[in-house]
Protein backbone atom coordinates (compact mmCIF):
# COMPACT_ATOMS: atom_id res chain seq x y z
CA UNK A 1 0.00 0.00 0.00
CA UNK A 2 1.51 3.27 -1.11
CA UNK A 3 1.82 6.13 1.41
CA UNK A 4 3.96 8.87 -0.19
CA UNK A 5 6.38 10.38 2.33
CA UNK A 6 5.98 13.97 1.13
CA UNK A 7 2.24 14.13 1.87
CA UNK A 8 0.31 14.80 5.05
CA UNK A 9 -2.72 12.74 6.06
CA UNK A 10 -5.91 12.83 8.09
CA UNK A 11 -7.38 10.13 10.28
CA UNK A 12 -10.31 10.09 7.84
CA UNK A 13 -7.95 8.92 5.07
CA UNK A 14 -7.48 12.11 3.06
CA UNK A 15 -4.06 13.20 1.86
CA UNK A 16 -2.93 16.79 1.42
CA UNK A 17 -0.02 18.18 -0.60
CA UNK A 18 1.15 21.73 0.10
CA UNK A 19 2.65 23.87 -2.62
CA UNK A 20 3.03 27.48 -1.49
CA UNK A 21 -0.45 28.65 -0.55
CA UNK A 22 -2.18 25.81 -2.41
CA UNK A 23 -3.24 22.59 -0.77
CA UNK A 24 -4.19 19.70 -3.07
CA UNK A 25 -6.41 17.06 -1.53
CA UNK A 26 -7.50 13.52 -2.31
CA UNK A 27 -8.15 10.21 -0.58
CA UNK A 28 -5.47 7.63 0.14
CA UNK A 29 -4.89 4.38 -1.66
CA UNK A 30 -5.93 2.60 1.53
CA UNK A 31 -9.26 4.43 1.47
CA UNK A 32 -9.79 3.82 -2.23
CA UNK A 33 -9.13 0.11 -1.85
CA UNK A 34 -11.40 -0.16 1.18
CA UNK A 35 -14.26 1.56 -0.63
CA UNK A 36 -14.01 -0.52 -3.78
CA UNK A 37 -14.89 0.97 -7.15
CA UNK A 38 -15.63 4.68 -6.77
CA UNK A 39 -18.64 5.63 -8.91
CA UNK A 40 -19.26 9.25 -7.96
CA UNK A 41 -17.47 12.01 -6.10
CA UNK A 42 -19.40 15.03 -4.89
CA UNK A 43 -16.99 17.93 -4.39
CA UNK A 44 -17.31 21.38 -2.82
CA UNK A 45 -17.96 24.26 -5.22
CA UNK A 46 -15.14 26.45 -6.45
CA UNK A 47 -15.15 29.60 -4.34
CA UNK A 48 -16.74 27.92 -1.33
CA UNK A 49 -14.99 27.90 2.01
CA UNK A 50 -14.02 24.66 3.70
CA UNK A 51 -12.96 24.06 7.28
CA UNK A 52 -10.49 21.54 8.58
CA UNK A 53 -12.21 18.46 9.92
CA UNK A 54 -15.59 19.35 8.40
CA UNK A 55 -17.31 17.27 5.71
CA UNK A 56 -17.27 19.01 2.33
CA UNK A 57 -18.26 16.24 -0.09
CA UNK A 58 -19.05 12.56 -0.57
CA UNK A 59 -17.42 9.57 -2.16
CA UNK A 60 -19.86 6.95 -3.49
CA UNK A 61 -18.67 3.44 -4.20
CA UNK A 62 -20.56 0.30 -5.12
CA UNK A 63 -21.10 -0.76 -1.55
CA UNK A 64 -21.03 2.43 0.47
CA UNK A 65 -20.86 6.19 0.68
CA UNK A 66 -18.32 8.11 2.75
CA UNK A 67 -18.01 11.74 3.73
CA UNK A 68 -15.07 13.64 2.35
CA UNK A 69 -13.42 15.83 4.99
CA UNK A 70 -11.33 18.87 4.30
CA UNK A 71 -7.92 18.61 5.97
CA UNK A 72 -7.44 22.41 5.86
CA UNK A 73 -9.20 25.78 6.22
CA UNK A 74 -9.52 27.96 3.14
CA UNK A 75 -11.21 28.74 -0.14
CA UNK A 76 -11.69 26.10 -2.83
CA UNK A 77 -9.86 27.24 -5.97
CA UNK A 78 -10.21 24.22 -8.21
CA UNK A 79 -11.91 20.83 -8.35
CA UNK A 80 -10.93 17.82 -10.43
CA UNK A 81 -13.60 17.83 -13.11
CA UNK A 82 -12.15 14.69 -14.70
CA UNK A 83 -13.69 12.73 -11.84
CA UNK A 84 -17.14 13.59 -13.12
CA UNK A 85 -16.60 11.44 -16.21
CA UNK A 86 -14.13 9.01 -14.73
CA UNK A 87 -14.48 8.54 -10.97
CA UNK A 88 -12.43 5.35 -11.32
CA UNK A 89 -9.34 7.59 -11.41
CA UNK A 90 -9.65 7.64 -7.61
CA UNK A 91 -8.97 3.90 -7.57
CA UNK A 92 -6.41 3.91 -10.36
CA UNK A 93 -4.29 6.88 -9.26
CA UNK A 94 -5.39 8.10 -5.84
CA UNK A 95 -2.34 10.35 -5.42
CA UNK A 96 -2.21 11.51 -9.05
CA UNK A 97 -5.02 11.90 -11.56
CA UNK A 98 -7.49 10.97 -8.83
CA UNK A 99 -6.89 14.17 -6.81
CA UNK A 100 -10.11 15.85 -5.73
CA UNK A 101 -9.87 19.56 -4.93
CA UNK A 102 -7.48 22.44 -4.23
CA UNK A 103 -7.73 25.01 -1.46
CA UNK A 104 -5.97 28.36 -0.99
CA UNK A 105 -4.65 28.30 2.55
CA UNK A 106 -3.59 31.47 4.34
CA UNK A 107 0.10 31.99 5.05
CA UNK A 108 1.07 32.60 8.64
CA UNK A 109 2.86 35.72 9.96
CA UNK A 110 6.22 34.09 9.21
CA UNK A 111 5.28 33.49 5.60
CA UNK A 112 5.04 29.74 6.14
CA UNK A 113 1.80 27.99 5.25
CA UNK A 114 -0.15 27.42 8.39
CA UNK A 115 -1.40 23.85 8.43
CA UNK A 116 -3.91 22.89 11.05
CA UNK A 117 -2.54 20.81 13.89
CA UNK A 118 -3.28 17.12 13.92
CA UNK A 119 -2.33 16.21 10.37
CA UNK A 120 -0.39 12.97 10.26
CA UNK A 121 2.99 12.26 8.73
CA UNK A 122 3.31 9.36 6.30
CA UNK A 123 4.78 7.19 9.06
CA UNK A 124 1.97 8.06 11.45
CA UNK A 125 -0.67 7.39 8.80
CA UNK A 126 0.86 4.06 7.91
CA UNK A 127 0.74 3.13 11.58
CA UNK A 128 -2.96 4.08 11.67
CA UNK A 129 -3.87 1.87 8.73
CA UNK A 130 -1.92 -1.05 10.14
CA UNK A 131 -3.63 -0.88 13.49
CA UNK A 132 -6.97 -0.69 11.65
CA UNK A 133 -6.10 -4.08 10.16
Amino acid sequence: MSVPAELRYTEEHEWVAIDGETASIGITEYAAQSLGDVVYVSLPGVGSRVSAGEPCGEVESTKSVSDLYSPVDGEVTEVNEELDDDPGLVNAEPYGAGWMFRVRVAAGADGETALPPGLLSAAEYEELTKSAG
Binding site: G36, D37, V65, N91
Partner: protein, 374 residues
Protein backbone atom coordinates in the same frame (compact mmCIF):
# COMPACT_ATOMS: atom_id res chain seq x y z
CA UNK B 1 -11.42 -10.93 12.42
CA UNK B 2 -13.08 -13.26 14.81
CA UNK B 3 -11.79 -16.81 14.97
CA UNK B 4 -15.41 -17.98 15.05
CA UNK B 5 -15.79 -17.38 11.32
CA UNK B 6 -16.26 -20.41 9.12
CA UNK B 7 -14.07 -20.96 6.10
CA UNK B 8 -15.32 -22.34 2.83
CA UNK B 9 -13.32 -25.19 1.25
CA UNK B 10 -11.95 -22.57 -1.18
CA UNK B 11 -10.33 -20.27 1.39
CA UNK B 12 -6.82 -21.00 0.09
CA UNK B 13 -7.89 -20.30 -3.49
CA UNK B 14 -9.27 -16.89 -2.51
CA UNK B 15 -6.07 -16.03 -0.69
CA UNK B 16 -3.96 -16.96 -3.69
CA UNK B 17 -6.17 -14.73 -5.84
CA UNK B 18 -5.63 -11.83 -3.43
CA UNK B 19 -9.32 -11.48 -2.59
CA UNK B 20 -10.58 -8.85 -0.20
CA UNK B 21 -12.34 -11.01 2.35
CA UNK B 22 -15.31 -10.02 4.45
CA UNK B 23 -17.45 -11.47 7.19
CA UNK B 24 -20.83 -12.55 5.88
CA UNK B 25 -23.41 -14.49 7.89
CA UNK B 26 -20.71 -16.03 10.06
CA UNK B 27 -18.49 -16.98 7.12
CA UNK B 28 -15.27 -15.50 5.80
CA UNK B 29 -16.15 -14.78 2.18
CA UNK B 30 -14.54 -13.08 -0.82
CA UNK B 31 -16.04 -9.61 -1.24
CA UNK B 32 -14.09 -8.87 -4.42
CA UNK B 33 -10.92 -10.03 -6.09
CA UNK B 34 -10.10 -6.80 -7.92
CA UNK B 35 -12.70 -4.43 -9.33
CA UNK B 36 -16.21 -5.54 -8.44
CA UNK B 37 -17.49 -3.63 -11.47
CA UNK B 38 -15.22 -5.67 -13.75
CA UNK B 39 -16.46 -8.87 -12.07
CA UNK B 40 -20.07 -7.78 -12.60
CA UNK B 41 -19.43 -6.97 -16.25
CA UNK B 42 -17.66 -10.30 -16.79
CA UNK B 43 -20.85 -12.12 -15.73
CA UNK B 44 -23.01 -9.99 -18.04
CA UNK B 45 -20.70 -10.32 -21.06
CA UNK B 46 -18.84 -13.63 -20.63
CA UNK B 47 -18.72 -15.66 -17.41
CA UNK B 48 -17.30 -15.74 -13.90
CA UNK B 49 -16.98 -18.15 -10.98
CA UNK B 50 -18.50 -17.72 -7.53
CA UNK B 51 -17.79 -19.58 -4.32
CA UNK B 52 -21.19 -20.03 -2.66
CA UNK B 53 -20.17 -22.71 -0.21
CA UNK B 54 -21.60 -20.64 2.62
CA UNK B 55 -25.13 -21.39 1.44
CA UNK B 56 -26.99 -23.96 3.53
CA UNK B 57 -27.67 -27.39 2.02
CA UNK B 58 -30.30 -29.39 3.84
CA UNK B 59 -31.37 -32.79 2.55
CA UNK B 60 -34.90 -33.98 3.26
CA UNK B 61 -35.19 -37.65 2.39
CA UNK B 62 -37.49 -40.60 2.72
CA UNK B 63 -40.67 -41.96 1.10
CA UNK B 64 -42.86 -39.10 2.36
CA UNK B 65 -40.32 -36.30 1.94
CA UNK B 66 -42.27 -34.45 -0.74
CA UNK B 67 -45.50 -34.36 1.23
CA UNK B 68 -43.57 -33.40 4.38
CA UNK B 69 -42.08 -30.43 2.53
CA UNK B 70 -45.52 -29.48 1.18
CA UNK B 71 -46.48 -28.84 4.82
CA UNK B 72 -43.22 -27.08 5.65
CA UNK B 73 -42.98 -24.54 2.81
CA UNK B 74 -45.51 -22.49 0.85
CA UNK B 75 -44.64 -24.12 -2.49
CA UNK B 76 -45.57 -27.58 -3.74
CA UNK B 77 -42.37 -29.67 -3.74
CA UNK B 78 -44.17 -33.03 -4.08
CA UNK B 79 -45.44 -31.89 -7.48
CA UNK B 80 -41.90 -31.39 -8.76
CA UNK B 81 -40.65 -33.99 -11.20
CA UNK B 82 -37.33 -35.54 -10.22
CA UNK B 83 -34.56 -33.39 -11.69
CA UNK B 84 -36.53 -30.17 -11.38
CA UNK B 85 -36.10 -27.22 -9.01
CA UNK B 86 -38.33 -24.50 -7.63
CA UNK B 87 -37.87 -21.19 -5.88
CA UNK B 88 -40.01 -21.16 -2.74
CA UNK B 89 -40.30 -19.79 0.78
CA UNK B 90 -40.53 -21.06 4.30
CA UNK B 91 -43.07 -18.95 6.14
CA UNK B 92 -43.99 -18.48 9.79
CA UNK B 93 -47.55 -19.24 10.93
CA UNK B 94 -48.36 -15.52 10.51
CA UNK B 95 -47.22 -15.62 6.87
CA UNK B 96 -43.94 -13.77 7.43
CA UNK B 97 -40.97 -15.05 5.45
CA UNK B 98 -38.49 -17.12 7.47
CA UNK B 99 -36.29 -17.71 4.43
CA UNK B 100 -36.44 -17.96 0.69
CA UNK B 101 -35.21 -21.25 -0.71
CA UNK B 102 -34.46 -23.21 -3.81
CA UNK B 103 -35.60 -26.82 -3.55
CA UNK B 104 -34.19 -29.42 -5.94
CA UNK B 105 -35.88 -32.80 -6.30
CA UNK B 106 -32.75 -34.84 -6.85
CA UNK B 107 -34.54 -38.19 -6.87
CA UNK B 108 -38.08 -39.33 -5.99
CA UNK B 109 -37.21 -39.56 -2.29
CA UNK B 110 -34.52 -36.92 -1.94
CA UNK B 111 -34.97 -33.14 -1.89
CA UNK B 112 -32.10 -30.67 -1.50
CA UNK B 113 -33.17 -27.47 0.23
CA UNK B 114 -30.78 -24.55 -0.29
CA UNK B 115 -31.09 -21.85 2.35
CA UNK B 116 -29.41 -18.51 2.92
CA UNK B 117 -26.30 -18.80 5.06
CA UNK B 118 -27.70 -16.50 7.72
CA UNK B 119 -30.85 -18.61 8.00
CA UNK B 120 -29.50 -22.14 7.66
CA UNK B 121 -29.78 -22.91 11.38
CA UNK B 122 -33.36 -21.69 11.69
CA UNK B 123 -34.44 -23.41 8.46
CA UNK B 124 -32.85 -26.63 9.68
CA UNK B 125 -34.67 -26.39 13.00
CA UNK B 126 -38.00 -25.61 11.30
CA UNK B 127 -37.63 -28.47 8.80
CA UNK B 128 -36.76 -30.91 11.58
CA UNK B 129 -39.94 -29.91 13.35
CA UNK B 130 -42.21 -29.59 10.32
CA UNK B 131 -40.95 -32.69 8.47
CA UNK B 132 -40.94 -35.00 11.46
CA UNK B 133 -41.60 -38.12 9.39
CA UNK B 134 -38.61 -37.58 7.11
CA UNK B 135 -34.85 -37.55 7.59
CA UNK B 136 -33.53 -33.97 7.67
CA UNK B 137 -29.76 -33.62 7.41
CA UNK B 138 -27.53 -30.56 7.33
CA UNK B 139 -25.01 -31.18 4.54
CA UNK B 140 -23.60 -27.64 4.48
CA UNK B 141 -20.17 -28.43 5.86
CA UNK B 142 -19.70 -31.42 3.58
CA UNK B 143 -20.76 -29.53 0.45
CA UNK B 144 -18.86 -27.18 -1.82
CA UNK B 145 -21.03 -24.93 -4.00
CA UNK B 146 -19.49 -23.26 -7.03
CA UNK B 147 -21.52 -21.19 -9.49
CA UNK B 148 -20.46 -20.44 -13.03
CA UNK B 149 -22.62 -17.62 -14.34
CA UNK B 150 -22.73 -15.78 -17.62
CA UNK B 151 -23.62 -16.30 -21.29
CA UNK B 152 -20.47 -18.41 -21.82
CA UNK B 153 -21.06 -20.65 -18.79
CA UNK B 154 -22.34 -23.61 -20.77
CA UNK B 155 -19.47 -23.44 -23.25
CA UNK B 156 -16.90 -23.43 -20.45
CA UNK B 157 -18.51 -26.11 -18.31
CA UNK B 158 -19.24 -28.54 -21.18
CA UNK B 159 -15.72 -29.93 -21.68
CA UNK B 160 -15.31 -30.45 -17.92
CA UNK B 161 -18.46 -32.47 -17.33
CA UNK B 162 -19.93 -35.70 -18.67
CA UNK B 163 -23.43 -34.17 -18.59
CA UNK B 164 -25.02 -33.04 -21.84
CA UNK B 165 -25.77 -29.48 -20.71
CA UNK B 166 -28.19 -28.81 -23.53
CA UNK B 167 -30.45 -31.30 -21.79
CA UNK B 168 -30.35 -29.40 -18.50
CA UNK B 169 -33.15 -26.86 -18.62
CA UNK B 170 -33.49 -23.71 -16.53
CA UNK B 171 -34.40 -24.67 -12.97
CA UNK B 172 -33.43 -28.28 -13.52
CA UNK B 173 -30.45 -30.33 -12.38
CA UNK B 174 -28.75 -33.67 -12.80
CA UNK B 175 -26.13 -35.84 -11.18
CA UNK B 176 -22.91 -36.12 -13.12
CA UNK B 177 -19.21 -35.58 -12.92
CA UNK B 178 -17.35 -32.29 -13.02
CA UNK B 179 -13.57 -32.56 -13.31
CA UNK B 180 -14.03 -36.23 -12.47
CA UNK B 181 -15.74 -35.43 -9.17
CA UNK B 182 -19.31 -36.43 -8.34
CA UNK B 183 -21.60 -33.41 -8.54
CA UNK B 184 -25.18 -32.20 -8.71
CA UNK B 185 -25.23 -29.69 -11.56
CA UNK B 186 -28.20 -27.33 -11.72
CA UNK B 187 -29.10 -24.59 -14.16
CA UNK B 188 -29.89 -22.02 -11.50
CA UNK B 189 -28.35 -18.81 -10.26
CA UNK B 190 -28.78 -15.42 -8.73
CA UNK B 191 -27.39 -13.14 -11.41
CA UNK B 192 -30.01 -12.85 -14.15
CA UNK B 193 -27.73 -14.70 -16.57
CA UNK B 194 -27.59 -18.25 -17.81
CA UNK B 195 -25.39 -20.37 -15.62
CA UNK B 196 -24.95 -23.38 -13.40
CA UNK B 197 -24.59 -24.14 -9.74
CA UNK B 198 -22.35 -27.11 -8.98
CA UNK B 199 -22.77 -28.91 -5.68
CA UNK B 200 -19.82 -31.20 -4.95
CA UNK B 201 -18.10 -32.80 -1.97
CA UNK B 202 -16.24 -30.09 -0.04
CA UNK B 203 -12.95 -31.91 -0.55
CA UNK B 204 -13.41 -31.71 -4.33
CA UNK B 205 -14.28 -28.01 -4.46
CA UNK B 206 -10.79 -26.81 -5.26
CA UNK B 207 -10.40 -29.35 -8.04
CA UNK B 208 -13.70 -28.30 -9.61
CA UNK B 209 -12.81 -24.60 -9.27
CA UNK B 210 -9.40 -25.09 -10.86
CA UNK B 211 -10.79 -27.18 -13.71
CA UNK B 212 -13.37 -24.49 -14.51
CA UNK B 213 -10.76 -21.74 -14.34
CA UNK B 214 -8.53 -23.72 -16.70
CA UNK B 215 -11.44 -24.47 -19.04
CA UNK B 216 -12.23 -20.74 -19.14
CA UNK B 217 -8.60 -20.02 -19.99
CA UNK B 218 -8.50 -22.65 -22.71
CA UNK B 219 -11.74 -21.57 -24.35
CA UNK B 220 -10.92 -17.87 -24.16
CA UNK B 221 -14.55 -17.50 -23.23
CA UNK B 222 -14.03 -16.23 -19.71
CA UNK B 223 -13.60 -12.59 -20.43
CA UNK B 224 -12.03 -9.86 -22.43
CA UNK B 225 -8.38 -10.00 -23.32
CA UNK B 226 -7.94 -13.73 -22.91
CA UNK B 227 -7.55 -13.22 -19.19
CA UNK B 228 -9.31 -16.48 -18.46
CA UNK B 229 -12.28 -17.12 -16.27
CA UNK B 230 -12.43 -14.49 -13.53
CA UNK B 231 -13.71 -15.07 -10.02
CA UNK B 232 -16.45 -12.80 -8.71
CA UNK B 233 -17.18 -11.93 -5.10
CA UNK B 234 -20.17 -11.03 -3.00
CA UNK B 235 -20.09 -7.37 -4.08
CA UNK B 236 -20.69 -8.31 -7.72
CA UNK B 237 -23.24 -10.94 -6.68
CA UNK B 238 -25.27 -8.25 -4.95
CA UNK B 239 -25.33 -5.81 -7.88
CA UNK B 240 -26.08 -8.65 -10.31
CA UNK B 241 -29.08 -9.89 -8.34
CA UNK B 242 -30.32 -6.32 -7.81
CA UNK B 243 -30.26 -5.58 -11.55
CA UNK B 244 -32.13 -8.86 -12.06
CA UNK B 245 -34.77 -7.71 -9.54
CA UNK B 246 -34.14 -10.68 -7.27
CA UNK B 247 -34.94 -10.23 -3.59
CA UNK B 248 -32.36 -10.61 -0.85
CA UNK B 249 -33.37 -11.94 2.54
CA UNK B 250 -32.83 -9.21 5.12
CA UNK B 251 -33.50 -6.52 2.52
CA UNK B 252 -36.65 -7.27 0.53
CA UNK B 253 -37.65 -10.32 2.58
CA UNK B 254 -37.99 -10.81 6.31
CA UNK B 255 -40.33 -11.91 9.09
CA UNK B 256 -42.47 -8.78 8.68
CA UNK B 257 -43.00 -9.36 4.94
CA UNK B 258 -45.27 -11.91 3.27
CA UNK B 259 -44.52 -13.19 -0.22
CA UNK B 260 -47.39 -11.06 -1.56
CA UNK B 261 -45.79 -7.74 -0.65
CA UNK B 262 -42.58 -8.86 -2.32
CA UNK B 263 -44.53 -9.42 -5.52
CA UNK B 264 -43.90 -13.14 -5.17
CA UNK B 265 -47.41 -14.33 -4.40
CA UNK B 266 -47.00 -16.87 -7.20
CA UNK B 267 -44.75 -18.94 -4.90
CA UNK B 268 -47.64 -19.44 -2.45
CA UNK B 269 -49.52 -22.50 -3.64
CA UNK B 270 -52.89 -22.09 -1.98
CA UNK B 271 -54.14 -24.59 -4.57
CA UNK B 272 -52.10 -27.46 -3.18
CA UNK B 273 -53.83 -30.13 -1.06
CA UNK B 274 -53.48 -30.27 2.69
CA UNK B 275 -52.49 -27.79 5.32
CA UNK B 276 -49.16 -25.98 5.44
CA UNK B 277 -47.55 -23.64 7.90
CA UNK B 278 -48.92 -20.17 7.27
CA UNK B 279 -51.86 -21.23 5.09
CA UNK B 280 -54.57 -19.43 7.08
CA UNK B 281 -52.64 -16.19 7.34
CA UNK B 282 -51.54 -16.27 3.71
CA UNK B 283 -55.06 -17.05 2.50
CA UNK B 284 -56.35 -14.00 4.35
CA UNK B 285 -53.52 -11.87 3.03
CA UNK B 286 -54.12 -13.00 -0.53
CA UNK B 287 -57.77 -11.93 -0.23
CA UNK B 288 -57.13 -8.49 1.21
CA UNK B 289 -54.28 -7.52 -1.11
CA UNK B 290 -50.83 -6.32 -0.24
CA UNK B 291 -50.40 -3.48 2.23
CA UNK B 292 -47.28 -2.27 0.49
CA UNK B 293 -45.66 -2.89 -2.84
CA UNK B 294 -42.12 -3.61 -3.90
CA UNK B 295 -41.11 -1.25 -6.69
CA UNK B 296 -38.05 -0.51 -8.78
CA UNK B 297 -36.54 2.98 -8.79
CA UNK B 298 -34.03 4.64 -11.07
CA UNK B 299 -32.36 7.70 -9.57
CA UNK B 300 -32.09 10.89 -11.56
CA UNK B 301 -29.13 11.98 -9.46
CA UNK B 302 -25.82 10.21 -9.12
CA UNK B 303 -26.24 9.96 -5.37
CA UNK B 304 -27.18 6.36 -4.62
CA UNK B 305 -30.39 5.44 -2.75
CA UNK B 306 -29.28 2.85 -0.21
CA UNK B 307 -30.85 0.35 2.17
CA UNK B 308 -32.95 2.11 4.80
CA UNK B 309 -33.29 5.51 3.10
CA UNK B 310 -36.79 7.00 3.23
CA UNK B 311 -38.95 7.20 0.10
CA UNK B 312 -40.93 10.47 0.00
CA UNK B 313 -44.06 11.47 -1.85
CA UNK B 314 -43.29 13.90 -4.66
CA UNK B 315 -45.75 16.56 -3.58
CA UNK B 316 -45.88 16.68 0.19
CA UNK B 317 -42.49 15.16 0.87
CA UNK B 318 -44.05 12.82 3.40
CA UNK B 319 -42.60 9.39 3.97
CA UNK B 320 -44.38 6.72 1.90
CA UNK B 321 -41.82 3.94 1.95
CA UNK B 322 -38.27 2.76 2.42
CA UNK B 323 -35.42 1.64 0.17
CA UNK B 324 -34.59 -2.03 0.67
CA UNK B 325 -31.59 -2.32 -1.69
CA UNK B 326 -29.77 0.23 -3.78
CA UNK B 327 -26.55 0.41 -5.74
CA UNK B 328 -24.94 2.04 -8.72
CA UNK B 329 -25.91 -0.25 -11.60
CA UNK B 330 -22.86 -1.18 -13.66
CA UNK B 331 -25.03 -2.24 -16.60
CA UNK B 332 -27.33 0.80 -16.66
CA UNK B 333 -24.76 3.33 -15.45
CA UNK B 334 -27.18 4.95 -12.99
CA UNK B 335 -28.15 4.25 -9.38
CA UNK B 336 -31.02 1.77 -9.02
CA UNK B 337 -33.01 0.66 -6.01
CA UNK B 338 -35.84 -1.51 -4.82
CA UNK B 339 -38.20 -0.05 -2.25
CA UNK B 340 -41.39 -0.82 -0.39
CA UNK B 341 -44.01 1.89 -0.77
CA UNK B 342 -47.58 2.17 0.44
CA UNK B 343 -49.88 0.43 -1.99
CA UNK B 344 -51.28 3.00 -4.40
CA UNK B 345 -48.45 5.51 -3.94
CA UNK B 346 -47.47 6.96 -7.32
CA UNK B 347 -44.06 8.13 -8.42
CA UNK B 348 -41.88 9.82 -9.25
CA UNK B 349 -40.65 9.75 -5.70
CA UNK B 350 -38.05 11.58 -3.72
CA UNK B 351 -35.37 9.70 -1.82
CA UNK B 352 -33.98 11.17 1.36
CA UNK B 353 -30.29 10.71 0.60
CA UNK B 354 -28.67 11.80 3.83
CA UNK B 355 -30.80 14.88 4.33
CA UNK B 356 -31.19 16.01 0.74
CA UNK B 357 -34.10 14.83 -1.40
CA UNK B 358 -33.09 13.30 -4.71
CA UNK B 359 -35.66 12.46 -7.41
CA UNK B 360 -36.19 8.89 -8.60
CA UNK B 361 -38.47 7.43 -11.26
CA UNK B 362 -40.47 4.22 -10.91
CA UNK B 363 -39.50 1.48 -13.32
CA UNK B 364 -40.67 -2.05 -13.92
CA UNK B 365 -38.71 -4.87 -12.34
CA UNK B 366 -36.35 -6.34 -13.27
CA UNK B 367 -33.96 -3.55 -14.19
CA UNK B 368 -32.12 -5.97 -16.42
CA UNK B 369 -33.63 -8.85 -18.39
CA UNK B 370 -31.23 -10.88 -20.51
CA UNK B 371 -34.01 -12.06 -22.80
CA UNK B 372 -34.61 -8.44 -23.82
CA UNK B 373 -30.99 -7.68 -24.64
CA UNK B 374 -29.98 -7.31 -28.24
Amino acid sequence: MSSQLRDTPLRAVHERLGATMTEFAGWLMPLRYGSETAEHNAVRSAAALFDLSHMGEIAVTGPGAGEALDYAVCGWPSALAPGRARYTMLCAPDGGVVDDLVIYRQSPDRFLVVANAANTAVVLAELRERCSGSAVADETAATGLIAIQGPNASRILSPVTDLPLDGVRYYAGAYGKVAGCPAWVARTGYTGEDGFEIFCPAEDAERVWTALTDAGDASGAGGAGGAGLPAAGLAARDTLRLEAGMPLYGNELGPDVTPYEAGLGRVVRLDKPGDFVGRAALTARAAEGPRRTLIGLVARSRRVPRHGYAVLSPSAGTRVGVVTSGAPSPTLGVPIAMAYVETGARGPFGIDVRGKTEPADVTELPFYDRSKQG
